[in-house]
Amino acid sequence: MAETQNVYEIPIGPIHPALKEPIRFTFQVEGERIRGVDIRAGFAHRGIEFMAMKRNLIQTLYLSERICGICSISHPITITLAVERAAGIEVPPRAQYLRVIYSELERIHSHLLWAGVAAHELGFDTLLHLTWKVREQVLDLLEELSGNRIDYALPIYGGVRRDVSPEQTPKVEAMVRYYRGLLDELLDAFLRDPSVEARTRDVGILTSEEADSLCAVGPTARASGLSKDVRQDRPYLVYGELGVKAITPRDYGLEPRGDVYDKAVVRLLEVAQSLDLIETCLYEMPEGEITSFPKVPALLAYLKKVEGEGLGWHEAPRGEVIHYIRLEAGVEEPIVWKVKAPTYSNLMSWVPMFRDQEVADIPIIAASIDPCMCCMDRVHVVRDGSPATVLKEDLLRLSRAKTERMVGGSRLSASGPRSTAHGRRTTDNGQRTPDHGGGL
């Protein structure tokens, strides 16, 4: 084995079997122990927010769905919530219930996908194949309801595009029954298997203090014992009436340790929670319209007149996703569209999770936050052919420069951007502004 002073670097990524999407880790390794990690994101940046500024809002909705295939309900729901808030559009009650059903279906398939990936990272391919086999059931149902296995095109501003018909209801019920019957087996395979436990218990620990100070979201935070769930903390749609409670390992009778095992506990229990929510929604869903704008041209015409900004938030399977949108009257395109995906919030929790772990733990720890790079990558600076790193200080400087430029007589009111002055968004703009002469 290596000498005590012999710290060497192991590059993982941007392309590596442990990673399903490109990101680069540079580990400082001493023997098999990880002493430090440097994370570099930005390889999956496609400039989606910028593309939206060239498209009308309906096209932007479709674009939002293509941020990530797995989150292809979360992003459209969040952008519709943002636009509806900006435009003051009411969503019919039935549509709200339907949105909840679709989101929870997405949560089930996303968590099962994660469970399979996690098993694969542990070298337990049998579990991967079995988990993904049972995942087919929910994908089949989503295909039945939307016509697609992913990219469902279900939410639209003012409602949803497809109803759950009376003929489809038994299929949803059958799916709920199927997974309820299977849940014990899943818990057995993941939580009571000695070799899985040996690889996940006390691996990649994120203490609740660290999760809190790093603003971790979703199952990553809940596994550390934080009772943090957007559906519970800032209810939207009908989640308030449904009374969603954040799931922590305590619900499984365990004291949260924040390790990989706890993250599996939380995700698997959330599958059960989603099943309950779907069932409740199915029975409590009132009859009625599923959208307040049945005709798309009318919707577009209405949205074109809207002036204002809106924020949408949603508990995606990976955690809190936020969309900010700014609309201007007479313009079809969004003026600003900012997406904050859960992985962005969870990125920094990798650092304490990797500390003093073994090289063998890298894949499962990397997978434990259920990262979604294509959701997250928002900024990738390449100037004069060489990639540059933007530090927090740079962000702050660019952000202030931008604000000053705008205060100094831009089209936008000074108060608008300031109220949403996240350094990131402004940098995204600030980086562009020198070429575009200050305006957006």
Binding site: A18, A119, L122, T126, S195, A198
Partner: protein
Amino acid sequence: MTSLHLVWQAAAVLVGGGLLGLVYKGFDRKLAARMQARIGPPLRQPFLDVGKLLVKESVVPRDAVGWLFKAMPFLAVIASFTVLLYLPWGPFPAILRTGGDAILVLYLLAVPAVAMALGGFASGSPLATVGAQREIVMLMSYEFPLAVAVVGVVWRLATLGGGPAFSLGAIAAAPLWTMVGPLGVIGLAILAACLLVVTPAELSKIPFDIPEAETEIAGGLMVEYSGTYLALFYLADAAKTIAMAALVVTLFAPYGIAGLLGLSGAGAQAVDLVFHLLKIFVVMFAAVTTVRVAMARLKIDQVARGFWLQITAVAVAGLMLLVLDRMVVG
């Protein structure tokens, strides 16, 4: 026996062993796939793989120590095929026989692992370096229980006066189970169990595929190997799988069925050879295929601790029982 005759026999064992290794690999992959609810590759896939690798370019990385990098696959193949020559094949005695060949086989089995580790260190890749370090730690972990199991059996046979000491031919000719007392039977069973646990480790299969660990270090010590060199390692692995399973069979179940069926002559030899191959398959299926679909990959420290403490303790206990048996039975 003329030397020409010997060459022919050796060639038959080497070619047959290599083909058998690939066929068994095909069965292993197919059965594993079935247990994972997959269709799996066709049985001849390992042959296709080797054929494909042989025509592919063999890249030697710029940072590699070229001669070492290129020599190690050959060393691995030669060592693992040589083991086949020292193992008895059911009714047929081993091609090469010397006193103490049980010890020689132990060392020969370790050579491919060392060759892979050296090749890994020579490839100049950090992932391969990690894999090579892990291979060495693995080797140090499972060698002791392996040696205890093998030496225990052959030593007990020697004390019973069964042929030359530490000879695999002798143990194949005189199964121990019926020669020892009850304590010895328990001891032998324990050693057999230990050897079955060591088998997947020796072959670097899940849960012990730590040196390669695809999801962690992208193939580890194999990461830089391609083309012919990779094909050679692939063949070495196939041969070593057969050798390891055959060793288990030879030590603990060297029985034939021809006698029971009332056969004699060439027919008996053929039946016993097939039965021997069947036993090898059963050992491979039990110790490699089922284990690798039923478990997650362990970590190197878990494996090292497990082999050094638990498995070694169990193996030594088995050996002590054999020693006690020697005192009681004589």
